[in-house]
């Protein structure tokens, strides 16, 4: 098997995640889909790391995880406070930015 398959898998997961972001309304699920996309990227990085024979790809994946952790913390906090204010976790309900 060619390790390139990992990349195809990563692409597939990324696309599924992205589509999920677009069609789900529940903010938490949207967030999960974002996580899925991030993980897909990580997989690709790890695969690249193996292909190139150095650890830089893994480092980037590691940083991605850290950033994702930070992002989750803040994002979930936002969701919670939005929920508190609007009693809804639907992203469509937060549509005050239209003209």
């Amino acid at each position: 098997m060619n390790p390139v398959n990992y990349l195809y898998l990563a692409a597939l997961l990324f696309t599924i995640g992205a589509t999920g972001v677009l069609i789900r309304r529940n903010a938490i699920v949207v967030f999960m889909c974002v996580e899925l996309m991030l993980n897909a990227c990580n997989l690709a990085f790890v695969a690249f790391s193996r292909m190139h024979g150095n650890l830089d790809g893994q480092i980037i994946a590691f940083f991605t995880m850290v950033v994702a952790a930070a992002e989750v913390v803040v994002g979930l906090a936002i969701i919670v406070s939005v929920f508190r204010a609007r009693h809804s976790a639907s992203v469509d309900d937060a549509s005050l930015m239209k003209l």
Partner: protein
């Protein structure tokens, strides 16, 4: 397996593992997207992540694989579940689209994007790969550490700052300072009297019913449920479980049984005859 060969392909075991677990991962991802309930989505995602952790391990990223399981699946996903609980575990998300054309556009874009991405990967000349044998010679963790604390030390420090910021940010966002003194019991009582809407205290859930769960409304004497008995949060979420119909059925059945028994003992006791006639007239 020679090093030469290792450059182009992997072991059969890994291939088998890839195809099996890969399929499961894709299914998990799809489930994450399409499951109605957030909890289910979260569980499916956790599954996918664990599979990814296995893949990391298979790709020689031992440290990341473990971190993936411990930090990601263990901590982050639990955080997700925690929030899901906070926001409403049973709130099923309707998958019905409300924005015109959004779903089709999304699918179209997703499809196009996927095809392009895959075409891109297919186009790239990625036939050769080196394997991590050399890089991991001193141990994967040591190798990573050496890089992080030399080449990427600046970025690493920055992520530290980012994490602290995020932690503070989360606290700021969720924490609410009380700006006014809480009202005392007495004041609340006075307020109730002043407004005159609902002078006595609100009924407790399940007072007139057979259930005492917090999300089940108490029944009024005529058998209809009273929303007032349920906490406001649950009411707002629409998470009140309505048991009035079955309660009424239960009541009816009870009465039926009582009737039957009373019929039998009608001659026997006058004590329950009064109640029976009362019921009978109803």
């Amino acid at each position: 397996m020679t090093a030469q060969l290792a450059a182009y392909s992997t072991s059969t075991g890994e291939a088998f593992q890839f195809w099996v677990l890969g399929t499961v991962a894709v299914i998990g991802a799809l489930c994450t997207v399409f499951m109605k309930k957030a909890v289910h989505s979260a569980l499916c995602l956790a599954g996918t992540m664990i599979i990814l952790a296995v893949f990391y391990l298979a790709n020689g990223a031992y440290f990341l694989g473990i971190v993936q399981i411990v930090v990601y699946t263990g901590a982050i996903m639990m955080l997700f579940l925690f929030v899901v609980m906070l926001v409403g575990v049973t709130a099923a998300d309707s998958l019905k689209e409300t924005i015109k054309g959004q779903r089709w556009l999304a699918l179209l874009c997703g499809l196009g994007f996927g095809i392009l991405l895959i075409a891109g990967i297919g186009n790239a000349s990625l036939t050769e790969f080196n394997g991590l044998g050399q890089a991991n010679a001193n141990g994967n963790v040591e190798g990573l550490a050496a890089l992080i604390f030399t080449k990427y030390v600046f970025a690493f420090e920055l992520t530290g700052a980012l994490l602290i910021t995020a932690a503070v940010g989360a606290m700021v966002l969720t924490h609410r300072e009380r700006t006014e003194r809480a009202k005392t019991q007495r004041e609340l009582a006075e307020q109730r009297v002043r407004e005159g809407k609902h002078v006595p205290p609100l009924p407790a859930p399940g007072v007139y019913a057979r259930h005492n769960a917090v999300d089940i409304a108490g029944l009024l004497p005529d058998g209809t449920p009273s929303d007032l008995t349920v906490s406001k949060t649950l009411r707002d979420r629409g998470q009140i479980r309505d048991v009035s119909t079955e309660a009424l059925q239960d009541l009816k059945a009870l009465e039926q049984r009582a009737e039957d028994r009373l019929e039998r003992s009608n001659s026997g006791g006058a004590n329950s005859g009064g109640s029976n006639s009362g019921k009978g007239s109803k």
